[in-house]
């Protein structure tokens, strides 16, 4: 019972081998079934997440979330799905048909493909490639292509503007994301995801490399387009950005891709910085590892939602300044310092907790120095400050 997933897999394997299939065909069928199961799990999770998000947003904004469709509104997601399925597809005139239809599929495919390399438990992993970290970054860049395709083929000025701005932001924020991802790779001496998780027991990389975790969190939030970086779909500015002209299930695919991407980023932070499936008794009972993984991912998802619902949107030039002038130097310096410290301490063979303490101290030191230096930078544009004056004055009163 403890090793439920492998139990099911072994039973299926013996079943298919018993039907007379060759070894390779059995492997292929099992992998196909596995990927279908992962995709179904992803979509079911997204349905639950939409409800959680709307309820959470409601409560943080001091209102009820949806509470009509079933007790506590739990059937709201299903109502949304039915609505999206039955909406009419309105294709704008002059849109390039093929690419217009392919773009939402590509967006959701690029997010689902990341799930192929996730280790859910100690011996449950889709594909344990040697270059797991690079694979994740590479597949994420397909989503950027989908946005460009969607923006251009809609034949709409605002879509194109929204797509160009969002692509400029996305490719800029890939750099600190990749560089801060290199820190766990450096510390665990491998690019395989199972090795990275294995090297994190019992000290999670959140404690050994907190600055890398922070930089990765910020740049991932920019990558998924959540506030304060959400000018990809700033409703008040660009209508709806690159998915203005999409309706019905095509828009539904972009919507699902966005939620799934947020959950995937939570999973990435869990794997790289929070110890993945690690936890008490996770190795003896792998099913517990599966539960820990999803629990930690859900916590990170809630943190990202919390940040999203509390902060205002920042302007595009401020955002690009933040990236090029703060995040990239900080992440590079962090990488260099961690690399040097790791190499020096490797020669001395010191106890693990002293190593963790020194790394933690170094990270906090770099963070404070960079925040101090960033605070001293003068803003480029001198803003005129006007004296305050009351805007609406009742007739008959003297203004101050």
């Amino acid at each position: 019972m403890a090793d439920l997933i492998n139990l099911i897999e072994n039973w299926l394997e013996s079943l298919i081998l018993g039907w007379g299939a060759s070894q390779e065909l059995t492997l292929f069928i099992l992998q196909a079934i596995g990927s279908v199961v992962v995709v179904i799990i992803c979509f079911v999770i997204v349905i639950a997440l939409i409800w959680v998000e709307r309820k959470l947003a409601g409560r943080i904004q001091d209102r009820f979330g949806p509470n009509r469709a079933g007790p506590f509104g739990i059937f709201q997601s299903f109502a949304d799905i039915i609505k999206i399925f039955t909406k009419e597809y309105i294709t704008p005139e002059g849109a390039e048909k093929g690419f217009y239809n392919v773009a939402p599929v590509l967006a959701i495919a690029s997010v689902l493909a990341i799930w192929a390399v996730f280790p859910f438990a100690v011996n449950v992993i889709g594909a344990d490639v040697h270059v797991g970290v690079l694979y994740i970054v590479a597949v994420g860049s397909f989503g950027i292509l989908a946005i460009l395709m969607a923006g251009w083929s809609s034949n709409n000025r605002y879509s194109l503007l929204g797509a160009s701005r969002s692509v400029a932001m996305l490719i800029s924020y890939e750099i600190p994301m990749v560089v801060s991802l290199l820190v766990p790779v450096l510390l665990s001496h491998s690019m395989k995801l199972s090795d990275i998780i294995g090297a994190q027991q019992p000290w999670w990389y959140l404690i050994v490399a907190p600055l890398a975790a922070l930089v990765f969190l910020i740049s991932s939030m920019a990558e998924i387009g959540k506030a304060p970086f959400d000018l990809l779909e700033a409703e008040s500015e660009l209508v709806a950005g690159y998915h203005t002209e999409y309706s019905g299930m095509k828009f539904g695919m972009f919507y699902v891709a966005e939620f799934l991407h947020q959950y995937t980023v939570g999973a990435l932070i869990t794997i790289f910085f929070l110890g993945g499936w690690g936890g008490p008794m996770a190795i003896q009972w792998p099913i517990l590892g599966f539960i820990y993984f999803h629990l930690k991912t859900f916590v990170v998802y809630l943190v990202i939602s919390w940040i999203r619902l509390s902060l205002p949107r920042i302007r595009i030039d401020e955002m690009l300044n933040l990236n090029w002038k703060f995040l990239i130097p900080v992440s590079f310096i962090n990488l260099v310092v961690v690399a040097i410290a790791d190499r020096v301490m490797m020669d001395f063979d010191i106890a693990r907790w002293i190593y963790v303490g020194i790394m933690f101290g170094l990270n906090i030191f770099i963070l404070f120095v960079s925040l101090f230096l960033a605070g001293k930078a003068k803003p480029e544009v001198e803003r005129e400050t006007f004296p305050t004056r009351p805007v609406a004055v009742p007739p008959g009163t003297k203004s101050k």
């Binding site: 690419f99 292509l145 490719i171």
Partner: protein, 170 residues
């Protein structure tokens, strides 16, 4: 049997996409087909048991170069809707030349006696690559980084709007 089928499918997709790149009237559509050609080439690398090169191909070519090309096409469209003739006056002779080159190369490939080895792929290619890059090939490594720095600075300088142009645009 299965590798042969996979190779046939992958090479069909790659060559078909490449032909679409060089013959399509709409240069943006050729850019999309170029992305498909890159995906095909990455699959060829996976067939050749070089997963690191395959992932680097997707990361660099599709994640950076293709996006850059599409951006540049979007920035330099004169008229949004008109597609012009894409073949210049020497297209027939260049097609002939390309065919002749392919024939010569194919004949060369089949008449040479390649010393193939049934060797095994190293178990940890990335560690090996890291060591080689920093010991045997450290000079090309450093020169490559200087080249990238020069390309970075040069492309920013060349592509920048001069102050005159931005003033006249206001």
């Amino acid at each position: 049997m299965v590798p042969v089928l996979v190779f046939a499918a992958v090479s069909l997709v790659t060559l078909g996409a490449a032909i679409a790149v060089v013959t399509n009237k709409n240069v943006l559509h050729s850019a999309y087909f170029l992305v498909l050609a890159f995906v095909g080439v990455a699959s060829v690398y996976v067939l050749l048991e070089a997963p690191f090169i395959a992932v680097i191909q997707v990361l660099i070519y599709i994640g950076a170069i293709a996006i850059l090309i599409i951006f540049a096409i979007m920035l330099t469209r004169r008229l949004m809707s008109k597609d012009m003739e894409q073949r210049n006056h020497q297209w027939f002779w260049s097609a002939l030349g390309a065919l002749v080159l392919f024939g010569v190369l194919g004949w060369l490939v089949y008449s040479a006696n390649w010393p193939t080895v049934e060797g095994a792929v190293p178990k940890d290619p990335i560690t090996l690559m890291g060591q080689e890059l920093l010991t045997t090939y450290v000079i090309p490594f450093e020169i490559a980084s200087v080249l990238l720095l020069a390309a970075l600075v040069g492309s920013i300088l060349i592509g920048r709007e001069s102050d005159q142009e931005s003033r006249s645009a206001e």
